[in-house]
């Protein structure tokens, strides 16, 4: 995590705050900060999304390419995550500084999406054992203001929702197969991300735990539990992080919170995405120039 140094006094202030459910910026323990989303911001991608969560800003681009199927599962496409901690997010990322964090995020995302119901990889298979679509998801950290995992997972889901794959027609004639790409830009296939997970990070501060921790809060949290929660209320991946530990009982209610928050997060995200999709026509681009 990108860490800021805090004085003991500040830490106690924050910890007590978490205790009586009123945080520095007036939030309760289970509140997210204000989220801003925009999709299809990068025209050169098959799908993209930009999200801003207070100071955290993340851009996700999805590129879909035709590739060889992997020998172990010939009837499926692939999804690959790459996270780039750009050095203009924070100087700490310069050189190889951001690598570890980047790996952690991409690993977590990969694990979160590594189960069939999140994203149906069979749909991405073109010719069994030969050709399939490979979905490259590139996550770019533009600014770090806490809870990067959550933010990136949301951005990824949005971008995937926004992704459109050109329609392919496969014709077999004696042995070798022909692939034909339809040139109509609107004749496309969309990914079903309804059940894709969002990561909810529960940071343990003092004896209570909060969601969407700000950078300061992260600085005084010893252990956090990450849950990739689907809309159905299932966990597709879980991971404990940080140098602290939980007692068995506290994990239970963390899971409870995780489920509650996760599901509502998914819900409101989908609503927004759908609504944006609906008035795509009359939408004007915001982009970065505001």
């Amino acid at each position: 995590m990108v860490d800021v140094q805090l004085s003991d006094a500040e830490k106690t202030y924050i910890i007590h705050g978490a205790q009586d459910n009123l945080r520095e910026d007036g939030r309760g323990c289970e509140d997210y900060r204000h989220l801003e989303i925009e999709t299809s911001v990068v025209s050169t991608t098959s799908g993209s999304a930009k999200i801003r969560l207070a100071n955290t800003e993340i851009l996700v681009g999805v590129k879909v390419e035709l590739g060889e199927t992997s020998p172990e599962n010939p009837d499926k496409g692939r999804i690959e995550f790459f996270v780039d901690c750009s050095a203009n997010a924070t100087p700490e990322f310069e050189g190889r500084g951001g690598e570890d964090l980047a790996n952690e995020i991409s690993n977590m995302l990969a694990r979160a999406y590594d189960c069939p119901s999140c994203l149906d990889m069979r749909k991405l298979c073109v010719v069994e054992g030969k050709k399939c679509w490979i979905v490259y998801v590139d996550v770019l950290l533009l600014e770090c203001g806490g809870s990067l995992f959550d933010a990136s997972s949301i951005a990824v889901k949005a971008a995937l929702y926004n992704t459109s794959i050109p329609r392919l027609t496969v014709t077999h004639d004696e042995g070798h197969t022909e692939l034909e790409l339809s040139d109509d830009p609107y004749d496309v296939q969309r990914l079903d991300v309804y059940n894709s997970p969002c990561i909810v990070t529960l940071s343990k501060i003092g004896h209570s735990h909060v969601v969407d921790a700000s950078q300061k809060e992260e600085a005084c949290c010893l252990a956090r539990l990450m849950l990739a929660v689907t809309d159905k209320g299932c966990v597709t991946a879980m991971k404990k992080e940080g140098s602290g530990s939980f007692d068995v009982s506290s994990i239970e209610d963390m899971l409870e919170t995780g489920k509650k928050v996760g599901q509502s997060l998914n819900k409101s995200l989908m609503e927004v995405l759908v609504s944006e999709d609906r008035n795509m026509k009359k939408k004007y681009m915001t982009g970065y120039l505001r």
């Binding site: 694990r111 189960c115 069939p116 252990a223 299932c234 994990i251």
Partner: protein, 271 residues
Amino acid sequence: MPTDTRRITGPESSVSPYSFCKIQEPQPLFNSQDLRKDGRKCDQVRPIFLKTGVVSKAQGSAYLEQDGTKVICAVYGPRAVIKKEEFSMKGQLRCDFKYTTFSCKYRRQYQQDNEEKDYSVQLLEALEPAVLLHKFPKAQVNIYVTVLQNDGSALAASITCSSVALCDAGIEMYDLVTGCSTRLAGDRLLLDPCKHEEYSSKEHSEVNNGSVTVGLMPSLNQISAVTSSGEIQFEHLKKAINKCSEICVQLYPVCQQSLSKSVKENIKENT
């Protein structure tokens, strides 16, 4: 051409013979009498063999064996921090997890791959809470874990192994950390799964198929590591975590045994 000049190099690319043999459909995890492939019951853990002091030049070391899973771990330090860093009153822990190239069905690479990196981090975070870091200011302790043979539950095994190694090194700790993993299959829990029993997304598609690994500090009853994969409902997840922690508690005395044995031996030598 990025060829590895520091090693004897073979051909550019080579393929495992296993990818040439015909794919046999996955056989059921347990038979009619609820016995697993290797004859275990669902809630039965493989016997553990633990030994400390296997690396003579290391501060502390341990070797753990659970039938097919063989893990060795060495602990060095506390020693001066190698690369220049700012002053810290707390000591640092460093973990390095590695599979030997021949430890798995498919050959591993020399460089740490993502899984190994990920495990290194999880291992570190599993052990950190248990160590009295303030006892060795501005120094670091290195923990090197090598899996000699992997037949499932490698992470769990390494957690236990390395915590014992830490003890052997005389690093002060609040508690041991023991690891256990389980495989969820529907409403069943297969404890301490073998390689072929572990969850993989391509074979098992239904809900509540996955695996959970837990690292526990038994006597403080604190969970220091927990990780899951596969789509699992919260209720099952809880169940799995609890079951794992139960087993972890039972592992405590086994570590205790091998440790106290080594201590007794030391005493023998010294007197």
